[in-house]
Amino acid sequence: MVDNYAIILIMILTVLGFGALLLSIGVLVRPYKPTPRKLQSYESGVPNIEPLKGRYTPRFYVIAILFVIFDIEAIFLFPWAVAFDQLGLFGLVEMVLFIVILLIGYAYAWRRGALEWV
């Protein structure tokens, strides 16, 4: 089985080689005539008014936290699913409990407006 990961590595290297080839051809043949206007960030055709401050709504942050919680849940569910036929009813009860606890958190997030996007 170790070999399989080596194969993946070979694939990645091949992909990288391919990409490098593609990009280096591009460097050889394409023109390069920069002008100050050309090098500005895009601002709908008018000169840049103010620099980028990089502030954005905290909702993205909330979504990211929720994602982490539920993604970990998914990771827990994967091995459970694979072993499910051996666990039987025990596995079912345990997992339903697990999901219920998470759903309580989900209901909380929903009610408190963490899923609102306005």
């Binding site: 399989n4 070979i10 391919f18 591009g26 960030s41 994602f67 499910f84 339903v96």
Partner: protein
């Protein structure tokens, strides 16, 4: 691992890459043609017979475009971002079996897959998560408002739908008892009543629907293409990219479509299995059908608003996918 093996794997990788790049090129043409037909137009038909050389012309054009690097970008990340997107998209395909193992090909015995990871499903999910980095970094490194907002929106959308995508697979895993894509395909061999194929879509219809919807969202395709909503965000995270660098993002998007379709075929539609002729042809046919579905979606549906998109992902798909898991578990326990 001998030198011969390494050559074999390099050749196989190259075949996959060339296949995917060709698929990407002609997918763009197919899409433009089909959307044209839906809108009672012809689509591109000037370059080559029936427009068949259009992708080649596009490629050459992109190759000769200037690569403009705007001032103020974080250059290493700026260059890394498209590379990550493409590598993640291409490498995902490595674990998808396109045919049975141990086939005689030109007098050479080989398996019709590149790698048979025993955690293939996890690998696919991990790679698709890696793809998010490309988008976030592109948005962050570009030093542009549109890029930043586009990147953030894209990553929020991707992670939201990744949840239901991953959870929709749990049902299939419970039926198979394995994370290996080969085992999953083999689990779908045979028929019920002699003529109905034992495809998982028939026992996991809800999971397939959730997977299909999440898959469309994961690839940022219409009606979930808010990432590139021209009216609000110009080009989204790739606003500041030109020429080949821009083409790489485009390439990643289309290759992801192919991969998501291939994965849908593998997980729910029996993979390369089918009556009359087996192997890669059935897989190709299934992928082509699913891609047609993609294009038709784009041709017919308007774009969602962003709040609708997030609500749908978090309030509809996520509970549904959990429900699907519980139903599947109860079903397995009851039916043995």
């Amino acid at each position: 691992m001998t030198a011969g093996d390494i050559v074999e794997y390099v050749v196989k990788s190259a075949i996959i890459i060339v296949f995917l790049l060709t698929a990407f090129a002609y997918m763009t043409l197919y899409e433009r043609k089909l959307v044209g037909r839906v809108q009672v137009r012809h689509g591109p038909n000037r370059v080559g017979p029936g427009g068949l050389l259009q992708p080649v012309a596009d490629g050459v054009k992109l190759l000769f475009k200037q690569a403009i690097t705007p001032r103020g970008v974080d250059f290493p990340l700026y260059i890394l971002a498209p590379a990550i997107s493409v590598v993640a998209a291409l490498v995902t395909f490595a674990v998808i079996p396109v045919g049975p193992g141990g086939v005689n090909l030109f007098g050479y015995r080989t398996d019709l897959w590149l790698a048979d990871l025993d955690v293939g499903v996890l690998f696919v999910l991990a790679m698709s998560s890696l793809g998010v980095y490309g988008i976030v970094l592109a948005g962050y490194a570009s030093n542009s408002k549109y890029s930043l907002l586009g990147g953030l929106r894209a990553s929020a959308q991707l992670i939201s739908y990744e949840l239901s995508l991953g959870l929709s697979l749990v049902g299939v895993l419970m039926l198979t008892g394995s994370l290996s894509l080969n085992d999953i395909v083999n689990g779908q061999g045979g028929t019920w009543l002699g003529f109905i194929p034992r495809w998982y879509i028939l026992v996991q219809p809800l999971a397939f629907i959730i997977y299909a919807i999440s898959g469309v969202a994961e690839t940022n395709r219409a009606p979930f293409d808010l990432v590139e909503a021209e009216q609000e965000l110009v080009g989204g995270y790739h606003t500041e990219y030109t020429g080949l660098r821009f083409a790489l993002f485009f390439m990643a998007e289309y290759i992801n479509m192919v991969t998501i379709s291939a994965l849908a075929a593998t997980l729910f539609l029996g993979g390369w299995r089918g009556p009359f002729f087996g192997g890669p042809w059935w897989l190709l046919l299934k992928i082509a059908l699913l891609l047609t579905g993609y294009v038709l979606l784009r041709a017919t549906l308007p774009r969602l608003r962003y709040d609708q998109l997030m609500h749908f992902g978090w309030r509809v798909l996520l509970p549904l996918s959990l429900l699907n898991i519980v139903i599947t578990a109860i079903g397995i326990v009851l039916l043995g």
